[in-house]
């Protein structure tokens, strides 16, 4: 996990960044500490046409159908003085109350694409539930694929490209997680104990084998 401000790696459960002392109170001071109501597709910059908005909403609904625990949000804004899109995304996903998202899908399962139309930058933020499944490199890959469309100002196609790539990554990760869970379950059933996997790992270790042989 990386700090949204200094982009340094931070250990889990750190209350504030050990490098720059960043915490949510810092962004709350800037953007406000109250929850903000918005929809999964918010075009504050007014760059999308009506047809494009409808099409994009359809894609976002499809994403929610495929991933019953998750939702995808897109925010188009134009920030005059905000070079820190990363911090804005962090704040919005923590303080945003998405009206068109069911309560069974908390923001922990949210992915937010923030686009600064004026500052010409785009960033992705994800909730806690996606920490192990959506790496920073994967988000960079998604943004890179949409880069030509961003350059040309084709916001709909850029958003669709990001959405499509993120969907592929998450589908792959979901299948992998399911496979690993099944393997673990079958292994437990075969060994008949809950800590068999760990014991197996220990026994495969050289030192452990020597001790067990002794």
């Amino acid at each position: 996990m990386k700090c949204p401000r200094c982009v340094q790696r931070v250990h889990s459960r750190a209350r504030e960044c050990p490098h720059c002392a960043f915490s949510i109170t810092d962004v709350d001071r800037v953007f406000g500490q109250d929850d903000v109501r918005l929809r999964t597709l918010t075009d504050a910059a007014g760059v999308l046409r009506r047809k494009e908005r409808i099409a994009l909403r359809g894609r976002l609904d499809q994403f929610q159908q495929n991933f019953p625990q998750l939702f995808f949000g897109i925010y188009f804004g134009s920030f005059k003085e905000t070079p820190s899109l990363r911090q804005f995304g962090f704040w919005l996903l923590n303080r945003g109350a998405f009206e068109d998202v069911d309560v069974s899908r908390p923001n922990e399962g949210g992915i937010l694409l923030s686009v600064d139309v004026g500052g010409k930058s785009a960033g992705i933020t994800s909730g806690y539930a996606l920490g192990p499944f959506l790496s920073e490199d994967a988000t960079f890959g998604a943004l890179s694929g949409a880069h030509p469309y961003f350059l040309e100002g084709q916001w709909l196609r850029a958003s669709e490209s990001v959405l499509s790539r993120v969907t592929k990554v998450l589908a792959k990760q979901s299948r992998r997680a399911e496979r690993e869970a099944n393997e673990l379950r079958s292994h437990r059933e075969n060994t008949g104990s809950s800590d068999g996997g760990l014991r197996g790992l220990r026994e495969r270790h050289k030192g452990g084998r020597k001790k067990s042989e002794a």
């Binding site: 923590n94 992705i124 192990p132």
Partner: protein, 376 residues
């Protein structure tokens, strides 16, 4: 010991040509001048005499009337009566005598010779035809075995057998053994063997090859397609120079072509008819049945294509629909709050899109953003 060795070495040096030169310069000079004179005389005897300058020539050169070397660049005078004798070339004698010019009548095979081609061998089981006919032993034993083995292999793999008749490069066949009449005259040979392609192949002259398919094949396969198969096989044969290799290539290509012809027969639904014994007497296939057959081929092929295409489209739609309906779940992870944030702390990548000439990796934003916040 050393003294003795030095004396011997000195004596050798004195006797050698080098030693002779160094020992007596006067004698050597004499011999040199004598040899030079002899060689000069020899040279002068071979060359024409050099022109001699006269005082008047000298005066002419001084006045500019004569230009030295003028004759070299002027027109060369040619002696009209001069003759050039052709050089005598010693040609090597012919190692192999030229083949004798055969009489045209000798090239035509006799009826007895031809009968040997269509005589069933006693070891052949009834109902089977020997696939390779070479009563003149034009192929070596090894080549014969290879060729027969290939034809046998093809026969096992394919429903259409190839029966090969081998002739020499320039041999002519009697009129009554024209390939068009083979199936008519010697129908009993192929009666129980199913569809057959008879091939006349002249070793060393693949372009003279002839091909005749049995009536049940001709009923389905148009004539131009049969000719295409023959032409392609001949072209393939000409890729090689050796006679036996030409035959191999010819048969390989023909076998491939027959595979596709067999497929067409299957599509036409005539496989059962072909398997059943058809009378060879039905030699002339009526034009109307040929047209009907081709219509049914086209109709069936179109139907198969339509069904296949429809299946493909339905499959693609079903696959896309299943993808859209598929649900993906994730296991719940431990709740590890960071920075006091209640829902999210996964700071992903940030990319700017300012410069179209730079790749996204060069526009990836990974710097600390302390300045703005330090003002607050």
């Amino acid at each position: 010991m050393r003294l003795g060795f030095c004396l011997c070495l000195f004596a050798l040096v004195v006797q050698s040509p080098l030693g002779a030169q160094s020992a007596g310069p006067s004698d050597g000079a004499k011999t040199d001048s004598g040899q030079a004179e002899v060689s000069r005389e020899k040279l002068s005897s071979r060359l024409p005499e050099l022109p001699v300058w006269s005082p008047s020539d000298y005066e002419g050169v001084k006045k500019g009337e004569i230009v030295a070397g003028e004759n070299f660049f002027g027109q060369v005078t040619v002696d009209p009566e001069a003759t050039i004798e052709p050089p005598v070339v010693d040609l090597p004698e012919d190692v192999e005598p030229l083949p004798e010019q055969l009489d045209e009548n000798e090239l035509v095979l006799s009826s007895e010779q031809m009968a040997a081609y269509f005589r069933s061998a006693p070891e052949e089981p009834p109902g089977e035809v020997a696939l390779l006919k070479d009563p003149q032993d034009l192929l070596s034993q090894q080549e014969f075995r290879d060729c027969a083995s290939f034809l046998s292999y093809h026969s096992n793999e394919s429903e259409i057998d190839i029966v090969l008749y081998l002739f020499d490069e320039r041999q002519e066949l009697p009129e009554e053994y024209n390939i068009d009449k083979v199936h008519q005259v010697y129908g009993e040979l192929f009666k129980d063997s199913g569809p057959v392609v008879s091939v006349y192949f002249h070793l060393g002259a693949p372009n003279r090859a002839q091909l005749m398919m049995s009536p049940e094949i001709r009923a389905v396969i148009p004539q131009d397609e049969q000719e295409r198969a023959l032409r392609a096989s001949i072209v393939e044969a000409f890729e090689k120079t050796d006679e036996a290799l030409q035959l191999d290539s010819f048969l390989g290509e023909l076998s491939t072509r027959l595979y596709w012809i067999e497929r067409e027969l299957e599509i036409a639904g005539l496989q059962e008819k072909i398997a059943g014994a058809q009378p060879v007497e039905n030699f002339d296939v009526p034009e109307s049945s040929r047209e009907a057959g081709s219509f049914w081929i086209a109709a069936r092929a179109g139907l198969v294509l339509l069904v296949g295409l429809g299946g493909l489209i339905v499959g693609v739609f079903a696959w896309r629909w299943s993808l859209r309906q598929r649900k993906y779940y994730f296991p719940e992870v431990d709740d590890e709050r960071v920075f006091g944030a209640p829902h999210a702390a996964g700071a992903g990548a940030v990319v700017t899109f300012v410069d179209p000439h730079l790749p996204p990796s060069r526009q990836r934003h990974q710097e600390a953003e302390l300045e703005r916040w330090s003002d607050l």
